[in-house]
């Protein structure tokens, strides 16, 4: 017998999939929110395709952020990169004061409308949590453990791969999870610069004053973000259990 929380998650997933595949079945629920006979269900594009495009953008951007951020985090915690550590720390802090909308909006004039500015904004915004968590993960390795690794004759590379990264993994994964979820939200804003995604539904609702669109767009992205958050949590626990860090 699965736990109630698991059942709830499965139900949410089923609901999301059902809505994406046969949205017209849900039309009666949204009719009360329309005026003057406007369509209750988004009809200017295929919802499953939009959802896939949305997820694709989010995953692609987060993957690149993860590679860059983890790489950078490793670099500045090595002896050779130590000179860059104070600056990179401060930059991470300052970077967090940049609203995602600003990053997105500034990218548009530089690269034009569409997916690219969204990818850039998501990439930039996804860097921060992962970089920060990589740093604190690598730096919070107990000094005695690192010293023992050195003392037993591990090369710097062996120490990194066999000791430091595995110990930092929980925090790094947590950073990736955070980035992923934040990016689901930020990608919604991407629709204001004509990126394909679920934000389109909300924006269409705002433009045509159709509350039903706003509501379904909001519910679908919200549900997706929550499910993704939970899914990442499960993946994280699996990995940690496999590496005995839980």
């Amino acid at each position: 017998m699965p736990r109630p929380a698991t059942l709830l998650r499965l139900a949410a997933l089923a609901l999301l999939l059902a809505f994406l595949i046969v949205p017209q079945r849900f039309a009666p629920l949204f009719v009360p929110f329309t005026e003057y006979g406007a369509p209750p269900i988004y009809d200017q594009g295929s919802l499953p395709m939009l959802a896939l495009a949305h997820l694709g953008t989010v995953f692609a951007a987060t993957a690149v952020s993860a590679i860059v951020a983890i790489g950078l985090g490793i670099l500045v915690t090595r002896a050779g990169g130590a000179e860059f550590l104070p600056l990179s720390r401060t930059l991470v802090n300052i970077g967090q004061t940049f609203p995602p909308v600003a990053v997105l909006a500034i990218a548009v004039p530089l690269v034009g409308f569409g997916e690219l500015p969204t990818l850039i904004a998501l990439f930039a915004y996804g860097l921060l949590p992962i970089f920060e968590n990589t740093l604190s993960g690598l730096q919070s390795c107990p000094p005695a453990v690192v010293e023992a690794a050195d003392g037993m004759g591990m090369s710097p590379r062996q120490r990194l791969l066999a000791v430091e990264l595995p110990l930092a993994m929980p925090l790094i994964l947590e950073g990736v999870r955070l980035s992923l979820v934040v990016n689901v939200g930020t990608a919604t804003i991407g629709s204001t610069v004509a990126a394909k995604g679920l934000g389109e539904v909300i924006i269409a609702g705002l433009l045509s004053n159709n509350t039903a669109f706003i509501l379904q767009g909001g519910l679908v992205t919200g549900l997706m973000a929550i499910l993704l958050y939970e899914l990442m949590g499960t993946v994280e626990r699996r990995i940690l259990r496999a590496t005995h860090l839980a």
């Binding site: 107990p142 005695a144 023992a148 690794a149 050195d150 004759g153 110990l167 005995h244």
Partner: protein, 313 residues
């Protein structure tokens, strides 16, 4: 054998180890004592080049340590530290197998060695091998730490306050274990400690450091009877140095022929004179009988004999 000559370490302006020279005889234990910040750990870490010396030379078993890449050198030298530094994400067996793996030992040989070590340290392999460090008690973790340092059969073992975090009873046991194992494998041990009693108990030789300099390096008894520096006598303690001296001598060394009168207590040949004195005071007798393991009398230790040994000369 470890020959250290004119070894120094300078950080920015501060000289934390200053022209230290010493020879650690093969198969012996050398204990380094000193106040906090006196450079003990730095000296120790220059031997396996965790810290690169600024000046000077370390020759280990005839080979200049500077001629070997640091990490390869460290694979040949055991290293155990305070707080053990066990890898939390590896099992006890995996932890112990670390250096054999780095050295590319065959799996079967590694496994056999791990089991041997676990047995030596009184940890049943079947029960403890698959456990994770956090599932062990502090004393057990410490033993695994030392076992790990010994895994690749190093001829030299460096220890930095290895027993610092243990309670007195467990610590005593760990010290005895170390003594046994060192004798058994003939390992050359350099051990850093805060605890002067530990140094006297374990060290064949004791080095006293202060402000980066090695003030005296000698047999424990010589430190008590012939301190080279006022700091040495302050560190070793003047109030109870007679008792300390007694604790460095065994009953066998002070034994006279004959047997004690009926009310004299029985002691073993390996008991320290300090323990024998305590027994004599407690029982009110003037002499104790030294008995062999089979119970037969080997000789006696008299109060007068003990008093003569505790005198400075």
């Amino acid at each position: 054998m470890i020959e250290i000559s004119s070894l120094s370490k300078v950080y920015a302006e501060a000289t934390v180890v200053d022209e230290v020279s010493m020879v650690v005889a093969g198969g012996s234990i050398t204990a380094i004592v000193g106040t906090s910040g006196s450079g003990k750990s730095t000296l120790l870490r220059m031997i396996n080049r965790l810290v690169e010396p600024t000046r000077g030379r370390v020759v280990i078993n005839g080979r200049d340590a500077a001629t070997v890449p640091g990490h390869l050198l460290r694979r040949e030298i055991g290293y155990a530290i305070q707080g053990h530094g066990l890898f939390p994400h590896r099992t006890v067996a995996e932890n112990i197998a670390t250096v054999p793996r780095l050295l590319g030992w065959q799996a079967a040989r590694t496994r056999a060695r791990v089991e041997e070590l676990l047995r030596i340290f009184q940890l049943e392999p079947a029960e403890y091998g698959a456990k994770f460090p956090h599932q062990l008690s502090g004393g057990q973790q410490q033993r695994v730490g030392v076992a790990r340092a010994l895994a690749a059969e190093p001829r030299v073992l460096l220890m930095d306050e290895p027993f610092g975090a243990l309670d007195p009873i467990i610590r005593g046991q760990a010290q005895d274990d170390l003594r046994d194992i060192q004798r058994r494998f003939g390992t050359t041990v350099v051990l850093v400690t805060h605890d002067i009693d530990e140094a006297f108990r374990l060290g064949d030789h004791v080095g006293v450091m202060s402000r980066g300099r090695l003030l005296q390096y000698d047999r424990p008894a010589m430190l008590l009877t012939h301190p080279a520096d006022p700091f040495v006598s302050r560190l070793t303690g003047t109030a109870d140095r007679a008792l300390k001296l007694l604790s460095l001598t065994t009953a066998a060394q002070a034994m006279e022929p004959g047997a004690a009168a009926g009310d004299g207590p029985a002691v073993a040949a390996t008991d320290s004179l300090r323990d024998v004195l305590a027994q004599l005071l407690w029982s009110g007798a003037a002499a104790a009988t030294v008995r062999r393991p089979d119970g037969s009398a080997a000789g006696q230790v008299t109060l007068a004999g003990i008093l003569a040994r505790g005198r400075s000369d």
